[in-house]
Each structure stands twice: as structure tokens, then as C-alpha cells.
Symmetry: C2
Subunit: 456 residues, 2 copies
């Protein structure tokens, strides 16, 4: 390597990417289109823009334009917390005694605590540009809701968040961060929507679910003048915005003549993994370079490793379009796993297609091993990682230890999507030994697969 | 200005300071020495090293050496989370409509969430170098305890934290962060120390106090082989380590030909303010440059603005040396203020002397106004500030609005010491309108002043 690698590589502002990269443009097998759940026909722009902002609906449908300009206003917001550092994990390497070189792209250095802000600001921008009054969304653990409330605050846009009631009550801190940014946060199910009222009538004691919160948010967006619904993962538009992660990483690595052999990311809906790997997968698709790419998911919610590649509902309420993806079925109820952001039954259709075509592999890991890796990482690298991100840490450590055995000096890159400051109950369970692992049996998976829509 | 100022100025690693700056060397009127509370004579090195690490005791006594080398091991740790960004608050300026140029040095981008790590790593290093097994300390809100546990984890040193019992119970998250870093965290008062047992016997239901936790930590350090006591603020050694903040700021500003007119920091024990202003005050002391320097404290605990400049106990337990400082008296019980880090009855003796000599001024502000400023800042600058740091934000905004009235284009620099992720209960009180202000009457201050030691 020609230059000494610093602990942290920060790009200069002028080196930051000015365009997002749309990996679909380079895919020979395009991701299957979203379908109208009623007609089973591909969703049109007209249908999509009833729910989503028009520009975002266009991005959702665009699978041919390779580069899309990042508007000036978004670039300026990015400058407040980006470029994010690409960190050389010198201390972790030393601790592991591995000849491998480990790098991570750290997306947690902003108040939302994760990469979610990269897409939140883009979605808020397009909503504002369209002259909308506000947006609605749902949030489970609260990471996405926090990011969106920050973005809306910046553009002076109303932000209405339906927060799963049990999270609303058990995670008051995230709720208060959202309020600090001026968002209205409603525990879901609520009496504000027809679907909420119906659910409360049928199940008076319910503490809510993500599926129900989505349904309320979509209803609120489509029945209120000047509002649209926005989503923090899964959709191709979100992956597009998140490519800023991978593009920055690639520029920083190229600057120091670093080529990763292995690229690792955690995968829930797929937004961070897709964002990180896109520029690298692009090279792979075009036959310019090869990389080993590993998606890491929780063993308790194994959509890639044990799911089916099929059309499915994106939400349990079945109000959203059908997407073809690796899925456990919208009827699958994931067990209580502390990595709330990875508890999604499906997977981005872009990543699903890449996985099906063999461009990436997938591994599932159990949560106590993930928290042990998180703690080991925190103690040497200083950063307290989010449970979601720690899935990638676990596999990065595994790979580095394999190098120790074989003596290979592989270069490992992983995405560190966020910090765990609002996940200390989970760490407490880990410290107290009250955390358990859960791997669903084939029998457990059956109800989910049975819920898949018939596609004849 | 010759160059375009980016949103964030990051120094390159090679530009980071390699020495701390000891402002006492340039002070004509030196801070008064620490006194032995029994003999009222200046503390000797032999007396201090019974409690503190030897090298740190030497730094405490050294008021003549202007620059002290930062050991290589500490520099390497600094590289994991430093240089910290110097941020141009473009968005805040625009929101306020001020011609002032606002900069802040942001110290919250590390897992301890504050500047405390700068001194924690230095103190842990010297303890390790001395061959000690571990260190003890107390923590109230938990910021210092978190930083110290991270530093000890890095050097594989035992870390024993006495955490005020009410915080231990009400702030479980901070406690779990410390445990993640391997610290043992004991609610204080405990049955582990003589002083703890005595207090529990006398007050069985007590939820503890900082004074009691200090007494337990000092007892544990002085009665356990291979342990010393460490402290996160007030002491001159801590100010010395924190000068890395001001030195980085100065280097970054010089690089872009920026000269601040006003420098603002919050002041509890004084470590962050002292660290930020030291290189600037040095120029002022040497007659090279002039700066307006403002210390900001809570109106509820106004040691500089309403305290006496006198010798006092550093702790309520009266086990530590006497220090000459601006103080409300160790018997002063501050009201419940959400900026726990600013609830200290005294002030660094270095800052006290500088204030007494007219090198800096002081202002007190009320907490609801502080939280309103914090929220305004968070919404435009993205960062959710700690309540302590928000005291500086409040006065920076006040000064920027004055410039708006007068049309002056002043350059304002303030220290943003940390993030408020673990202070969301306080934000919740603010949002719910249940936060109140408290300004002690002269009558309220009397018991504190009556507790000052007789110094004849």
C-alpha cells in the first residue's frame, strides 16, 4: 500500500459524491416490478403518486438511469453530518491478532444515530419541493422516525409518526427526540384513523404492531390534503439514496489504493447493505472487479437464508403494493429480537434479485453471539454499536479470525450503521444473562409461508 | 477571509497537537495551591500521590512548564475519536438572520458522549504506566464514569465507579454503558466502604449524593493495594488534558484565518471551558491578542456570578484537599437542575484566578431558556445537545442576536461539549411544560457560605 492509512479517513467536502448510483441500471435481471395488490398488474406512476411523492415514485420505477443528481439542498444537509468516517479498525485487528485489515464505514455520528438520515432528508426534500404540507410514517424502534423528524424539521415540514404503542411506552427517549424535532408522535393503534379504531374495537388491549402502524400512516397520508407517506427501507428509492454510503467508501478507498476482498452488512429491509455495496456490486455486474459480499441477518428472522423468493405483501396490513422478494411471508411473526431494525419479514427486491443471481451470499447469526461481538468491538474501538450493526461486526470478526488461521491478509469492509445508545435495555439483558436465542423451526415458519398471496 | 469555510473543519491526523498547553505557566498570578485540610499547608507531592497517580500529582503541582508532551499511547487513542470537528453553524446563522459567524467545537462524537474522554484516557494511561491494578471514581449523571470505563477498558485496567444511588436507579442506560466497558458500578452509599456503612446506618433510606460517592471512591482507592482515585473535572491536571480541545480549535481556525471575537463555554467544574480557552487566554496573558471570554453557568448554581473567592472543600465529604476557588460553599445544596454536570458548588482554581484577574466574564442563565435554545439548535444544526452544553448555546445565540441588532459581523466560538441522548427525561419535562426555573435567594445561599472553612 502506497500511503500510510490513518485511523479515520474523512473525505474533503469537495470529494463527496454529487450523484446517487442506481445499481438497477447495471443489472441484467432487473428486480421484479411492484404489483397492484388488486389487479396484480405493475404499479403505474399514477397509482404510486397517490401514496408517495411524485419524484420518489419516479425514482422507484426508474431501473435504467445509472446516476441521479443529488439536489443542492440535500448536498448541503449532507455536509452537516457527512462525509462519515471510514475507520481502519487498528485496535480490533490487534486485539484479534489477525493479519486481516478491517475497515468500517461508520454512519452513527449524527443525532438520528444511524444511516436512516441519508434517505430521510431526500424524501423530505422531494415532499417539500412538491409543495406538500407534511409526511406520515410509522416507526418501530424509532430510528427511522427520529431521522425523518430531523429531516422534516430542516425543511419545515409536518411530520406525523405512528409509533408502535409498546415502543412508545417502553422507549420514551426516542419519542422525546422526535418531539424535540417537532414531530407529532402518536401511539399506534390510535383513534385518529378508521383502521386504528377498528383494531382497537376488536383488540382493546393491543400494544400494536408495525403492520398496524403502517396501515394508519398510509391512511393518514391518503386521506389528508397535502400529505404523502414515506418509508425508511425496503423500497428501491431508499436504496438509491443510501448509495451515498458506498460511494463515499469507494472514493475513500480508491484514494488510499485499498480494495476490499469481503464486504459485510446487516440486512433488515436492506437499505444500508444495498447502499454500501451498490458501487462495488456495480463493478461486479459490469465484470470489472470481484468482491465477496455477505448479508447478515438474525437467525430469528432469516428471510434470505430460509425465506422464499416470491411476490408478497410489504406490510401485515396488506395495503401496500406487492413486491417480489425473499420473504418469510407477511404472516410471519418474528420473535422478540433486540435488533428491532432487522425484524422484517421481507427484503429489498433489488437485493433479493442480486442474491438470487449469486452476486451476494447470506448468513444468519444468533443474538447472544452478536452482543458478545458488540461488546468486544466497543471495548477496543470505543464505539458502542447498535444491535443491528453488530450483526455485521460478528461476521467481520469471524472472517478476520479465519484469516488468523489461514494467514491470509484479506481486506474486510463492513457497514457500522449506527450506535446503540437507545438500546441499553438489550445490553442490560445481555449483561444479566437473561438474553436468549431463538431459531424458528420449519413448523414455526409455516404460517408465514401460508400467508403468501396466490399469484396465478 | 481567504478560503471558503467548509461546514466542518477536520484536521488531518498529522496536524493534531502533540503537546498539552499548561496555561498556568503564563499566568502572572498563579492559582493558589491546594492545601492539606488538616495542616492548612500546601499539599506536597508525597501527600498527593497517596491518593492520585504520581505523574498526575506532578502535573497538578506544575505551574511553570508551558507545554507537556502527550504520550504516544494517548495520541493513538485520541486518533480513534479525534480530531473533533470545528463546525461552522451556517444553518443556525441563517435561522437567526445574524451577520455574526458562529463556530462550535463539537466534543460529543464519541461513545462517552462528551469531552470527558480526553482526560479519562490520560488518567488511565498514567495509572497503567505506574503499574496500578485499577482506579476508583464517583459519577453523578454518569458522563465521567462512562468516559473512564472506556479508557480503562482500552488499557485493561480495573475501573470501580461509585454511582449516586438515585442516578444508578433512574439512569440505567448510563450504568449499562459502563458495564459494557467492563466497569464495576456500585450504587452509593454502599456496604463496601466504612463511610458508606456509616451513612447507611444513619440514613437507611438515603438515595446518595455526589459528596458521599466521592468519599467512598477515595476510601476504596486509599485502602486497596494498587488503586488510585481519579477525578473528571475541577483539578488543574484535568484542565491540562482538556487543552487538546482548544489547541485543535486554534490550529483549525489559524488554518482558515479565522479569529474569534467571543469565546463561550459552559462551566461546572471548569474542565471543558478551561480546555477550550487555554490557548486563547495564553495569547491574552502574553498580550498578543484579545478575546472576549464568557463562562456560562446555571442560575440555580451560580458559583462564579454569586460565589465567594475563598478556600473551600472540594467535596461535601471534606476528604479532599482545600482549593481556593469561586464557591458557593461545600454545604450548598444545588436544586434539581437537569444539567447535572454543572451542579458543582465550586470552580477550577485556574479559572477562578483568571476570572478574578478579569481575563474572563461570567453569566448565569435559567434552564427553561437553555432548553429552548437547545431545541432551536437541534432543529437547525441536527445535533441534540447535552443540557450542560446548551448553556453555551443559549449565550452564543444571545450574542448572535445582539449582532443582528447592531449589524456587527462578530465571530463567535463556543464549546459544544456533548450530546443529550441520556438526558431525554429532561427534554420530556421541557416538552410537557413541567420544567421550572429556580434562582436561589441570598437566604438560600447563606448555609453554603456558612460552611466555608475558617482560614485564620
Amino acid at each position: 500500500m502506497s500511503k500510510e492509512i490513518p485511523y479515520k479517513i474523512y473525505l474533503e467536502e469537495h470529494e463527496m459524491p454529487k450523484q446517487w448510483y442506481n445499481v438497477r441500471a447495471d443489472m441484467k435481471n432487473k428486480p421484479a416490478p411492484l404489483l397492484n395488490p388488486g389487479t396484480k398488474q405493475p404499479m403505474t406512476l399514477e397509482e404510486l403518486e397517490h401514496v408517495f411523492c411524485t419524484e420518489l415514485a419516479k425514482q422507484e420505477l426508474d431501473d435504467t438511469t445509472p446516476y441521479i443528481d443529488i439536489p443542492e439542498e440535500i448536498l448541503n444537509f449532507y455536509k452537516m453530518y457527512r462525509p462519515s468516517p471510514l475507520v481502519r479498525a487498528y485496535c480490533l485487528e490487534k486485539k484479534l491478532g489477525t493479519p486481516a485489515k478491517i475497515y468500517y464505514k461508520f454512519e452513527g455520528n449524527n443525532t438520528s444515530g444511524s444511516h436512516k438520515l441519508n434517505s430521510a432528508i431526500a424524501q423530505a426534500y422531494y415532499a417539500k419541493k412538491q409543495g406538500l404540507k407534511g409526511v406520515t410514517t410509522e416507526t418501530g424502534a424509532g430510528q427511522w422516525g427520529t431521522a425523518l423528524s430531523m429531516a422534516c424539521s430542516y425543511f419545515d415540514l409536518d411530520c406525523k409518526v405512528y409509533m408502535v404503542k409498546c415502543s412508545y411506552e417502553q422507549k420514551p427517549f426516542r419519542r422525546e427526540v422526535m418531539r424535540t424535532y417537532g414531530a407529532s408522535v402518536t401511539p399506534s393503534p390510535s383513534m385518529e384513523t378508521e383502521v386504528g379504531k377498528k383494531i382497537l374495537l376488536e383488540h382493546p388491549g393491543t400494544t400494536g404492531s408495525l403492520g398496524c402502524a403502517i396501515s394508519e400512516a398510509v391512511e393518514a397520508a391518503t386521506t389528508t390534503e397535502g400529505y404523502r407517506y414515506v418509508l425508511g427501507s425496503v423500497l428501491s428509492q431508499v436504496l438509491l439514496h443510501q448509495t451515498v454510503i458506498g460511494l463515499e467508501t469507494k472514493i475513500a478507498m480508491d484514494k488510499y489504493d485499498i480494495k476490499p476482498d469481503i464486504i459485510i452488512g446487516c440486512a433488515g429491509g436492506g437499505s444500508n447493505l444495498g447502499g454500501l455495496i451498490s458501487p462495488f456490486v456495480g463493478e461486479k455486474l459490469r465484470g470489472e472487479n470481484d468482491y465477496q459480499i455477505i448479508a447478515v441477518e438474525p437467525a430469528s428472522c432469516p428471510s434470505l437464508t430460509r425465506g422464499k423468493y416470491a411476490y408478497d405483501f410489504c406490510d401485515t396490513g396488506k395495503v401496500c403494493p406487492l413486491a417480489k422478494m425473499y420473504t418469510l411471508g407477511s404472516g410471519f411473526i418474528p420473535s422478540a429480537n433486540h435488533a428491532g431494525g432487522l425484524r422484517y419479514h421481507g427484503m429489498s427486491s433489488v437485493l433479493s434479485q442480486l442474491y438470487d443471481d449469486g452476486y451476494m451470499e447470506a448468513r444468519s447469526v444468533e443474538q447472544t453471539a452478536v452482543f458478545a461481538a458488540a461488546e468486544q468491538f466497543a471495548r477496543v474501538e470505543g464505539i458502542l454499536p447498535a444491535p443491528e450493526s453488530s450483526h455485521a461486526i460478528k461476521v467481520a470478526i469471524d472472517e478476520a479470525l479465519k484469516c488468523k488461521e489461514t494467514g491470509e491478509e484479506k481486506t474486510i469492509l463492513f457497514g457500522l450503521t449506527g450506535t446503540g445508545y437507545f438500546d441499553m435495555y438489550a445490553y442490560e439483558n445481555f449483561h444479566n444473562g437473561t438474553m436468549s436465542d431463538y431459531i424458528p423451526t420449519d413448523e414455526d415458519l409455516k404460517p408465514g409461508f401460508d400467508s403468501l398471496p396466490k399469484m396465478d
